[in-house]
């Protein structure tokens, strides 16, 4: 028999990046409330960077997120470069394209292996998986390390990519480093086949709710680093500087983060949005993986974001091999990025692993930041998560409460929400 009264409050949902609560209130068969409640500190970014030099901006913003440091760095650099009219070399462009692949793999692997896979394999976290599925955890660790090492070769390190500055790279990788890591990418194909097999065998809940997908798009390649803003609803595109026409941020009472809407009440960003908008540009191996995983367009099941992440990971591994070949064929040359600071305004738009990310800066004559705005992917997804919860709850009412809760948690986790910037100090009690 279906439930008519239900009260669910999941405080500090685990296995998401940061803190959020799920609240569901059903009275006499009527859904009064189903929301994802964000309890993180409000955005601090604007105040933080005001008065800072253009040289410091990407260094500061790379710390906004420990998982997507490259995305924040690149969005920041592109905003600064747009504001000051800085041209970058083709070599810098290729190296940035390559490092984006590293970050996508790193973040996606973290999500679909450590945060999502435990649900599919019926355990609470990744720890018990070591006992039951050690090969799964080892594979995840190998892929994670590979992506980390790629970022380290290119930018000094992933977490805080020091070699990336306005105008280019202060450090160029050695050809032998690139050749060595290329071999590891080729070897990773086996791990990817196993990854596809794992997710093939574990179906996600059936739930669909048509929505609008927003991502960047580029005429020549599957876009992470450069492109215009695209809506799946209309196919229309906007240049980066008109991003506010797409995001239309507004305040809602239950969240400390702003919500976004374009052609509908809400839209979705992330891997599923990108795969939807740019499917044709995926590497053939990624399309094969999509077929093997039963993925087809249009896809309005938010749980398939996990699958879209697997598909993108395959794409990124193959694309990295191609990019390394292209970079080695051109030959690497040292760069000395030089910038004459000047007043201006610019927008940088990239795809972070969790979706489209905007940085918008204004600089004065000395290259000091006078105004900044940063729209993160997870904030754009909040409105869509709420509407999914509201549509999904009524479909679950014949299940026990624990099952309902688990399904709702999995739904929110599918968006891979990154509620950003938690402090994470260690609290310990010593044995006296």
């Amino acid at each position: 028999m279906a439930v008519t009264d239900l009260n669910i409050e999941v405080h500090h949902l685990t296995r998401v990046e940061g803190h959020g609560n799920i609240v569901v209130d059903l009275k006499a068969g009527r859904l009064e409330k189903a929301i994802f409640n964000v309890v993180e500190a409000p955005r601090f970014f604007e105040a933080f960077v005001r008065g800072r030099s253009y040289e410091e901006m990407s260094t500061i913003t790379s710390r906004i997120c420990g998982i997507c440091a490259v995305s924040h760095t690149c969005a920041s650099l592109r905003a600064t470069e747009a504001a000051m009219g800085i041209e970058i070399s083709e070599q810098t462009r290729l190296l940035r394209l390559l490092i984006f692949n590293g970050e996508m793999i790193s973040s996606h692997v973290l999500h679909f292996y450590y945060l999502a896979a435990p649900d599919l394999l019926g355990v609470k976290s990744v720890l018990p998986l070591v006992a039951t599925h050690p090969e799964v955890v080892r594979r995840a660790m190998r892929l994670k390390r590979l992506s980390y090492d790629l970022c380290a070769i290119l930018a000094g390190r992933h977490t805080h990519p020091v070699a990336m500055v306005p105008g280019g790279f202060t450090h160029i990788p050695k050809p032998e480093e690139l050749r060595a890591i290329r071999e590891r990418f080729v070897a990773a194909r086996e791990d990817l086949q196993e990854t596809v097999a794992l997710f093939q065998a574990r179906p996600f809940p059936q739930f669909e709710r048509p929505t609008e997908y927003v991502s960047i798009t580029h005429p020549e390649r599957y876009a992470f680093y450069e492109g215009d803003i695209k809506s799946s609803d209309t196919g229309e595109t906007l240049p980066p500087e008109r991003y506010k026409e797409a995001t239309n941020e507004h305040i809602v009472p239950h969240s400390t983060a702003k919500h976004a809407r374009w052609h509908r009440d809400s839209y979705a960003v992330g891997a599923l949005a990108r795969v939807t908008n740019n499917y044709d540009q995926l590497h053939p191996a990624a399309k094969e993986a999509a077929e093997a995983l039963g993925f087809s367009l249009p896809c309005y099941n938010p749980f398939m974001n996990n699958v879209a992440q697997v598909i993108e990971t395959v794409h990124c591994v193959e694309d990295s091999i191609l990019l390394i070949d292209q970079i080695l064929d051109r030959g690497l040359e040292p760069e000395e990025p030089h910038v004459e600071p000047r007043a201006g305004e610019g927008v940088g738009v990239v795809e972070a692993p969790r979706g489209i990310l905007f940085h918008h800066y204004e600089y004065d004559d000395h290259g000091k930041c006078v105004k900044a705005n940063c729209v993160i992917p997870t904030a754009q997804n909040y409105g869509n998560i709420d509407r999914d919860l509201q549509a999904f709850v009524p479909q679950l009412l014949d299940k026990p409460k624990e099952d309902i809760t688990l399904n709702l948690e999995m739904l929110v986790r599918s968006y891979d929400p990154c509620i950003s910037c938690s402090a994470h100090l260690l609290e310990v009690e010593f044995i006296e």
Partner: protein
Amino acid sequence: MKFRILGVGNPLRRDDGVGVHAVRELAQRDWPPGVEVIDVGTDGFALVTFLQDAEGVLLIDAVACGKAPGTVVTFSPEDVRSWMEGGSLSLHEAKVGPLLQLAQALGFCPAVRLVGIQPADWGWGQELSPPVAAALPEVVRTVEREVTHWVSGRKPWAKS
């Protein structure tokens, strides 16, 4: 031999970033071959991969252990009774204690030491609080002493 000095934390959250501040200092110094200084930031699972092929690891992090702000504590995982589930404690929902367990379960078992600094303020901001900033030289000295100890072969670390 590989020995890693890992700074953990978010330097946009004041004292939470003390591990990263320490690593910035430590990276300027000369170390014996095989010693690496790494800024891990807040990427918890990267931390696990850094335990993979190391013989010894020294973690520097803000540690709330009920002492006066700026107090430097040096300890081993075995000295800890509980890794608390504090409200704001989120190495992206992967806490240092469980991460060490995960590493161990995977067979990555370097000797691990932690140098912790009691924080005063982990609100938004890039500057360390005065007591924690004042403790940085002691953190650096402590790390140098620990590494010397390791390199000279006197492991496992004696209880301090």
